[in-house]
Symmetry: C2
Subunit: 259 residues, 2 copies
């Protein structure tokens, strides 16, 4: 049921509602879709969508439906994470990919999820559940456990007290067991996940630290279970992670701080 | 001199003006910067910037200045080009990078410029003038010449009749000479640029074609002049370009159509 238009909602907040109605897997929307998503009147949605299209923020397809426009994509590339972290990380990710020929992912914490900000994909490796810009759960992905472990006590409490979805029979959903894993990760900087999110996919992840010792991201390699010994993958993942951290100003001995 | 606020400008267009005030190289802006850029009253800019920050479209830094937020970056990743073209192109670009260890770029036409939508960078190759999301001139970059050559007669007339900036002594700025180069590029699908944009940097570019025969992008390798024979680089660039085109549905014999 569409919400009725609230007179209190400002024009600009309505514009943002139309924009943020686009989501991963729902990136092509008709006017009717937008009306349903926002609960705004049809005429309002049409006017806002046209204005967004004129500005290049949206693009109208031949079939009349809307997608995110190239100009908004360009604007997004200005986000500091994509400017600095991705630029610094990319050569290390390429070298790690060249050495292992497995998926290589870089993710950051946003809210109660991990967001993939860069990925190199190997054709022979397992299907990944997400793509660049996509989100992964904190409690059962490699990068998720690493950023959760360094996200502070409040975040850990919030995530562990909430519902912990069981994606596979291997997913750790016991708060006590998770808490022990996270303590381990804080000590070592690394996390290994075996089939907890996708059956048959293992992830080996490590933290990325900046010059202030703050954990800013997680780097992972995802391999098909049984194809590679995760223990053999950990050293190159750690080395690449430390390389990226050095580029961000980290030096051995820097005290690690939560995100 | 700031423009005075035009009463005719709608609230939503003002919001978009604040957003699009962020540009490559100008990605961290203060409220005063935003007032100067938009010509809007200080109070209006502050209110809109706060609203954008609340929505995650902007992020406020410790020093009070604003940057593009992670949530807007995520939204940008939904643009169809980044969803389909980049995903299809990435493995080919990685393989080309592994084979050559030179910069590899993918660009599309936007307005009268080429926009880089993906790039792999080699540490030993020349400094690039632009990064992902950045723009290159059409008349003197490798990818620019390829997309210009396939951009239609109107675009070619418009670009060749406008001012053609001379970036280096090598830049071709003679409209007749450029027209001949573009005709060549339409015939072969490729363009070679030697030091026309950056002294000492050569670019070898080829077109990317979709299933309808439409040219949708250009792929290039940029090398330090003298380090590699551009003629030796052309075959792998062509092969990778055709590989990406095949992924988009192109088959040998498909009639090529302008962008």
């Amino acid at each position: 049921m569409p919400r009725t238009s609230e007179p209190g909602r400002s024009v600009s907040s309505r514009l943002l509602e139309v924009l943020f109605a686009f989501r991963p897997g729902q990136s092509v929307l008709s006017l009717a879709d937008l009306v349903r998503r926002t609960g705004l009147p049809h005429a309002t949605v049409r006017r806002l969508a046209m204005e967004l299209t004129d500005a290049g923020a949206l693009t109208r397809r031949h079939d009349g439906r809307f997608t995110i426009g190239l100009r908004l994509w360009q604007l997004g590339t200005l986000a500091p994470l994509t400017e600095s972290l991705r630029t610094q990380a990319q050569p290390f990710m390429e070298d790690l990919y060249a050495a292992l020929h497995q998926h290589v992912q870089l993710a950051v914490l946003e809210g109660t999820e991990a967001v993939i900000i860069e990925r190199l994909s190997a054709p022979q490796a397992p299907e990944l559940v997400s793509q660049v810009g996509g989100r992964l759960p904190l409690h059962c992905s490699g990068v998720g456990k690493v950023v959760l472990a360094h996200g502070g006590a409040d975040l850990i409490d919030r995530v562990l007290s909430g519902p912990l979805r069981r994606f596979t029979p291997e997913t750790t959903v016991d708060p006590g067991a998770l808490r022990a894993e996270l303590a381990d990760c804080r000590r070592t900087g690394n996390a290994s996940v075996r089939g907890e999110l996708t059956p048959g996919a293992d992830s080996i992840a490590t933290r990325i630290v900046d010059g202030d010792g703050q954990v800013v991201a997680a780097l992972s390699v995802v391999v098909r279970a049984g194809s590679v010994n995760p223990r053999a993958v950990l050293p190159p993942v750690i080395a690449s992670g430390l390389g990226i951290s050095r580029m961000l100003g980290w030096r051995p001995g820097t005290r690690i701080r939560d995100m």
